[in-house]
């Protein structure tokens, strides 16, 4: 026991953040017998009581349409956040475009995420050695594979093992059965097939079989609202209650961490946070600190922990904190498909997101130098008889009987392919602290710098061309056939996959942590969120955040038992 006590709760470690990384770290540490003080910047949140299951657009203000208060629509789970958090601004450098999604709630962004859970492949860990771009990871796929299995089993991921090189097999018995593909997906799959492009069941953190206290999906009501039955994974129905059940977790909500301070020995000793309700600054002792506040929040804490001795911030002798900021590339291709008009109705909700997707299929072509961009992408496939949402008019014109007929013709006959691709780090994409702007608590805010390079734009160009060919092969009409990659690519931050700001590596000169998430500079300070990513493969980051946090928190738990943390 470390001797640290908060309101009668003696603890061994402070974990900052209750999202994917923080909740997993808290779960692993408490399960291993350690006592954890968890600091969450947002309010308490209970999906069982607060999720608007089955609510319809007709029940919501503005039919549920997005507003600045709720940018993903009224029913989106996000509390006190979105692209702006009231009273907590950020700035963006002139000439840059970057947007930053935050939530201020227990469980963070896991309450609304897409649940896509694609493990990285062997290609992804040593890509820099292969093509010279960015940085290698300080471990191999084989090191992480058993941890992916354990994470997928614990989280509950549906999918299968189709044996594709971009989609490594999970161990037998790990994945839950995927749901059946639906008609628009089968048509997309057939068109892709004609072009030699494979499809596979999407792997999603959605239960198709019950798991511990959580129920299997009942195939209704969108996952982005959160899931009161626990079928769609979020830490508030899984890792956090499981950690709490050990009796070794104590959570403080509305606790926005502003800095970590070192003692004489060079070890982290104190964490200072603002109680968002009172505005008061409070300090807790810190035997071990795990930062998992999200890539940019954790980097902000480190940079804001600067002292006279450490003017560049804490754990930043490499100068890499805030650097290497990456998101995924994003772009959409959509079109109208006459073959899907007037088809027989059935319940096409499924698990409310894509059941199948197109994994990256051109590793070989890339290796042969046939592509003008270095890294891959995948397509998430959309379309179907979705719950009407207020956008039924589309681009229809006219009125009366012809308008009604047109609405019917379009319903269920639109398909979309959402590209998600790998971005490489570049020197113009990073975050720093804007000393001129403070949030309502007086904490200096992040300032973002952003630029896409030709590597990303050429990749998007390839994706647009491919997506259009797929829609045309279905006999469809593409909505924006002349959109350029520059027009189509989403803004920096918009895909909400920001990573890399505290990257891991195999030496202290050009990375912030070692492969175990332990900062090179401060022995009892760890980072366990997306900040540690050495690169940002196109396979949505959350599963790998959780996998790294599981592996590295287990290591930390072992070290703590040995007194070596």
């Amino acid at each position: 026991m470390s001797g640290a006590v908060h309101e009668g709760f003696a603890y061994d470690a402070v974990v900052v953040g209750s999202g994917a990384g923080g909740a997993m770290a808290a779960y692993m540490l408490t399960k291993a017998g350690h006592r954890v003080l968890l600091l969450e910047a947002g309010r308490h949140y209970d999906p069982v009581k607060e999720t608007p299951m089955f609510h319809t657009p007709a029940q919501a203000p503005l039919r549920g349409a997005p507003t600045p208060d709720k940018p993903f629509g009224f029913y989106d789970a996000t509390v006190d956040g979105g692209w702006q958090v009231p009273g907590e601004p950020y700035t963006v450098a002139e000439g840059s475009e970057f947007i930053w999604w935050r939530a201020r709630m227990l469980g963070g962004r896991t309450n609304h995420w897409g649940r896509f859970s694609l493990r990285f492949s062997p290609h992804d860990f040593k890509a820099a050695s292969r093509d010279g771009h960015g940085a290698d990871w300080p471990m191999d796929y084989e090191d992480l594979a058993p941890w992916y299995d354990r994470t997928e089993k614990l989280v509950g991921v549906c999918g299968n093992n189709p044996g594709l090189d971009d989609l490594p097999d999970s161990a037998p018995g790990v994945l839950q059965p995927p749901p059946k593909a639906r008609v628009p997906e089968l048509l997309l799959a057939a068109a892709a097939g004609k072009l030699g492009i494979p499809v596979a069941p999407m792997r999603r953190a959605v239960l198709t079989r019950p798991l511990d206290e959580r129920q299997a999906c009942f195939y209704a009501t969108a996952c982005g609202r959160g899931c009161s039955i626990g079928a769609a994974f979020q830490t508030t129905t899984s890792l956090l209650p499981m950690a709490r059940a050990t009796g070794r977790l104590h959570t403080i909500t509305d606790a926005l961490v502003r800095s970590v301070s070192l003692g004489e020995s060079g070890r982290a000793e104190r964490v200072t946070y603002v109680d968002r309700k009172s505005g008061e600054n409070l300090v807790v002792a810190a035997p071990v600190v795990v930062l998992a506040a999200s890539a940019c929040e954790s980097a902000r804490i480190l940079l804001n922990s600067h002292t006279d001795k450490l003017p560049n911030g804490l754990a930043n002798s490499s100068g890499q904190v805030g650097r290497n900021l990456m998101d995924s590339t994003g772009a959409n291709v959509a079109g109208h498909v006459p073959a899907l008009e007037g088809r027989p109705r059935y319940n096409e909700d499924g698990h409310t997101s894509n059941h199948i997707f197109i994994p990256w299929w051109l590793h070989d072509a890339q290796a042969r130098g046939e592509l003008d961009f270095p890294r891959g992408y995948h397509f998430e496939l959309g379309g179907g008889f979705a719950m009407p949402n207020g956008r039924q008019a589309g681009s229809d014109s006219g009125y009366g009987a012809s308008l009604r007929a047109s609405v019917h013709r379009h319903y269920g006959a639109t398909v979309g392919l959402a590209l998600r691709g790998e971005m490489l780090p570049n020197p113009s994409s990073y975050m720093e602290i804007d000393e001129h702007v403070r949030d309502r608590y007086g904490i200096a805010v992040p300032k973002f710098h952003w630029r896409w390079t030709d590597r990303e734009l050429n990749q998007v160009a390839h994706g647009l061309k491919t997506g259009r060919r797929i829609i045309e092969t279905m006999g469809g009409t593409v909505f924006n056939p002349n959109e350029t990659p520059e027009e189509a690519i989403k803004k920096g931050g918009e895909i909400i996959h920001e990573v890399g700001t505290t990257r891991m590596g195999d030496n202290a000169r050009d990375s912030v942590t070692n492969q175990w998430g332990r900062t090179w500079d401060v022995p009892n300070l760890y980072v366990m969120d997306g900040g540690v990513f050495a690169s940002n493969p196109h396979k949505n980051c959350t599963l790998t955040i959780m996998t790294l946090a599981m592996r590295n928190a287990q290591r930390l738990a072992d070290d703590m038992h040995k007194g070596a943390a």
Binding site: K70, F74, P86, R182, Y399, H408
Partner: protein, 229 residues
């Protein structure tokens, strides 16, 4: 609902103006005198939004509806031109569409405030155009004359005189709002045949045999082979 940004509105009206080249105040279709578009002065919307942490289980609208009875009556009439009763489907005005539009244009958010300007100016224009052509408000016209005005602004893909650029934008916005409201009402959802949002016990059943038969017919027509995933 689909956004019609100010930039898009300006782009479209500029495009339409270039394509037209007719003097203001005349309609291409009839050569008859029509009304000029006029902005409607409006006090700022000061009502609160629902905030960043609204009660999702018991949703409520914190801002009041603001349209006048006369505006609502004209909206109701136009909504029923857009989606009249047809077969078993009710007319738009009977499923709460006017309330939804009123709520929409009374909201304090930037997009809705923009829509408010376009919509209220459009309602004024409808009556002004009716007055200019036939010296009567729109509602007093017979159905044929009402349709004549609507026809002049209902087809954004057609070339219209510059004077009608803004009325066309107005009517496109109205169409978006009315259609969106109608097909999210229980009656509209039923008409489209959406049958989800109900819990399913056991595995997701996937497409019905009829749906698969239809798909296979389409695949054959397109020369595509079914892929088994």
């Amino acid at each position: 609902m689909r956004r019609l940004s100010r930039r898009e509105a300006l782009r479209r009206s500029a495009h339409l103006a270039m394509a037209a080249g007719l003097p203001l105040g005349f309609t291409a279709a009839t050569g008859m005198p029509g009304a000029a578009w006029a902005e409607v002065p409006m006090p700022p919307v000061t009502a609160p939004g629902y905030g960043t942490d609204p009660d999702l289980i018991h949703p409520s609208v914190p801002w009041p509806n603001t349209l006048t009875d006369a505006q609502r009556q004209l909206l109701s009439l136009l909504a029923d031109h857009l989606l009249p009763a047809e077969g078993a489907s009710p007319a738009a005005s009977t499923v709460g569409v006017v309330d939804v539009v009123d709520e929409w244009v009374s909201a304090p958010y930037p997009e809705q405030v923009q829509h408010r300007q376009l919509l209220l100016a459009g309602l004024v224009w409808m009556d002004a155009d009716a007055q200019a052509r036939w010296q009567q408000p729109f509602a007093a016209l017979d159905a044929q004359r009402q349709v004549q005005i609507i026809d002049s602004i209902a087809w954004p893909e057609r070339t219209v005189p510059e004077a009608l650029a803004m009325p066309v934008l107005f009517f496109s916005l109205l169409r978006q709002l009315v259609v969106g409201a109608y097909y999210t009402s229980p009656e509209g959802v039923a008409e489209l045949g959406y049958i989800g949002n109900v819990p399913i016990t056991g595995d997701y059943p996937g497409p019905t045999p009829e749906a698969m038969k239809h798909l296979r017919t389409q695949l054959a027509a397109l020369g595509l082979e079914e892929v088994h995933v």
